[in-house]
């Protein structure tokens, strides 16, 4: 597919310019992603879509500052991204991202105190508000180990939103949930994004989820992760069951499956999943 792979934003929130990430060093180094160039404007929800091994999570971690960049540049609001910070709050797939020794309220409040420097009372007030917005007021004082997976992810989402980051990073946040909960959470996330106008970088391997959640979908090929296509999701396609949705899904699927077919060729050398 010959597509222009860069939305030229005049004043991008996030800008990736020829980003390359590697694992290991010397001769055994494996390239995880290669030459990714893409911009994200305020209010965009950019989905990185691809099979495992395309380095989409590595890319997200590099934006978060959790992983060094081996080539190219990542800028947030025109400045190179540095160490991890609350301006790029992340929600991870794993359920253990909440502090087990703090209650639901305590988790969100602590993040606000430390990440935003708020005093305890102000942080508590804002935390309650956000916990209410994800529908968890009744478990305010519960410890994370007593919550279901979906509830834990809701708390993590509330925590991330409460900090009002410039950019939300979501690394397959619903991948470990059952299908029904996942759908519900996608809708809830969408509602929150629309209320707040949040900018999101979202990683998934689910085509359906990508169309549902994103305003733009960047599909990646595996080994190493290269850009395949950057597709804006038309408003009409955002509703499940519409023709536009089905068309977009089919086209993305053909895209990714075509790549998967190539991928079944005998692998050359060792490979790693990023």
């Amino acid at each position: 597919m010959g597509v222009t792979l860069r939305v030229a934003e005049p004043d991008p929130l996030l800008s990736l310019d020829g980003v390359t990430l590697r694992y290991g060093s010397g001769a055994s180094a494996v390239t995880a992603v290669q030459d990714i160039t893409v911009d994200l404007a305020v209010g965009d929800r950019l989905v990185l879509l691809g099979p495992s091994g395309c380095g989409k999570s590595s890319l997200l971690r590099a934006v978060g500052g959790f992983q060094p960049v081996d080539g190219g540049r990542i800028h947030l609001r025109g400045k190179p991204v540095g160490k991890p910070g609350p301006d790029r709050m992340a929600v991870f797939q794993e359920f253990d991202q909440l502090l087990p020794w703090r209650t639901v309220l305590g988790n969100v409040r602590y993040a606000l105190q430390r990440g935003r420097g708020l005093d305890r009372a102000t942080a508590g007030k804002r935390a309650r508000d956000w916990i209410g917005r994800v529908g968890l007021t009744r478990v305010l004082d519960a410890y994370p180990h007593t919550l279901s997976g979906g509830m834990k992810q809701r708390v993590a989402i509330a925590r991330a939103f409460a900090l009002e980051p410039d950019l939300l990073l979501m690394d397959e946040p619903f991948a470990a949930l059952d299908a029904l909960t996942r759908r519900q959470m996608q809708d809830e996330l969408l509602a929150l994004c629309e209320q707040t106008g949040a900018s999101v970088l979202f990683v998934t391997h689910g085509i359906d989820e990508a169309i549902r959640v994103g305003t733009h979908v960047l599909s990646l090929s595996p080994h190493p992760g290269r850009m395949k296509a950057l597709i804006p999701v038309p408003l009409a396609a955002r509703q499940r069951g519409t023709t536009a949705f089905a068309q977009l899904e089919a086209s993305l699927q053909a895209d990714l499956l075509g790549e998967a077919d190539q991928d079944t060729a005998p692998p050359s050398g060792e490979r790693r999943h990023g």
């Binding site: 991202q97 502090l99 430390r114």
Partner: protein, 279 residues
Amino acid sequence: MADATLAAPAATAPAAAPADQASRLRFNGWRKVVLLLGLALLWEGYARHLGNALLLPTFSATVRALVEGFASGELLARTATSLELLLMGYGAGLVLAALLTALASLSRWGAELLELLTAMLNPLPAVALLPVALLWFGIGAPSLVFVITHAVLWPVALSSYAGFRSVPRTLRMTGRNLGLSAPRFIIEILMPAALPQILAGLRLGWAFAWRTLIAAELVFGVSARSGGIGWFIYTNRAQLETANVFAGLLTIILVGLIVEALLFRGAARATIQRWGQEQ
């Protein structure tokens, strides 16, 4: 039985044996009471049969000695002396262990240092350091505190460091995401996350320290006036007051059980059990 499976994971290390006894006492106490009564009867019977109070006093004589020892205040004072020394050594050991572990979690050099030191010094029995301690500090409390510190430091540092290392990556990333400073990251994220292992280390350290102290006191016991419970046993043996020797031993067991049951079980209940962190 559910009770038994609940009690089982408590026995994680040889030194945690008192823990095991304490938890079983709590979970199905009546069996233990029956067994204890049986053992006491056996002791009483055999001692009477033997008829030699110098070798083996009867159970009743031992209990009487124990009660009299506490009534006269002597055993209590001896126990207090021992515990005071123990707490000093334990505290010093904990501070050093915290420093070493913090260093190890902050830098590669610190990590290598901790690994090297624990590998070398952990197998070294604390009592083996007594001659050195005597040379450096002379006969007295400082020597005892020194060997207790040694006994506590390595197991606590080792298990705390293992705990730090096993903190899930996601949790670390969450902490870094908030932009925490290094001290805050250690105190507010790593330490509570590693609490199960830290508590296990504290328990192990306590058991080591208690044994080391008694052993050290038996060897040179400070002085008659300010000696601890080991000294009490030593002097009573010399005076052939065997019932008192056994009363001293019982006191050691009792203190171990009480600390285990009240302090460590209580701490675990209030923290890691409540937070669902217990392994």
